[in-house]
Symmetry: C2
Subunit: 106 residues, 2 copies
DNA sequence: CACACGAAGTTTGCGTCGCAAACCTGTTTG
DNA sequence: CAAACAGGTTTGCGACGCAAACTTCGTGTG
């Protein structure tokens, strides 16, 4: 059967709204800096910072800190596993949505 | 613009994996009882119970407790607003996924 | 009858988490 | 120089989800 009770356990680390937004944006873009991500996701600096730290600890993103025009510039990109995981997460969301009740009838 | 920073703030109450599963299953089915939902979602009794309580407190579902064949039977259904909210939630997830970076360029 | 057992839920304890607010550090601006 | 600002980081705390313990009612079974 292919009920939601199967594999599709949603990973909280990625599912959390802020991080889902971050990961999804990153999956469309090669790399992005802190300010861009903040605008793209609507997160506050503080929350974006701590979400990025978590994602980096899980090795889903890489973070590079530089100076550009004498200002700090934090550049973020998905790792290979990060890309795989966000893709998989969206797949699981889709299969959850496409769930149909009769698959439980056995 | 239609960036994720706009409306699409994801509602944690519905977004939580267990409740997202519950609500999604309920949206396909008119009504379901406790045991059915447990199998459909893969949640433990305890967690299903507490999630249902939260959903009921938010008036997204109605809960009716009966006895069937002398056994307790808890029947759950979406309210009108519940259906609206889960539908809206999936819409927002889709627009998040379909986000394209250039909408920020202004 | 008494006692165990199971089904169907509920309650509790606790570690974890996300958020807002405070803080930090270097750079312009008045 | 002081003040404001840009770009982040750290902290405090209330809320939350999970697993495990508890409850209640009904059904064997010796």
């Amino acid at each position: 059967m292919s009920a939601p009770s199967d594999g599709p356990i949603l990973d909280r680390l990625i599912h959390e709204p802020g991080r889902l937004a971050i990961m999804t944006v990153l999956s469309t873009v090669e790399s992005a800096d802190f300010v861009f991500l903040q605008r793209a996701t609507g997160l506050t600096k503080g929350n974006l910072s701590s979400h990025l730290t978590k994602l980096a600890e899980a090795e889903l993103v890489t973070i590079e800190k530089r100076f550009v025009h004498r200002k700090p510039n934090t550049n973020v990109a998905l790792t290979a596993t990060g890309l795989q995981r966000i893709t998989q997460h969206w797949d699981r969301l889709h299969s959850l949505r496409n769930f149909s009740a009769q698959s439980l009838s056995e």
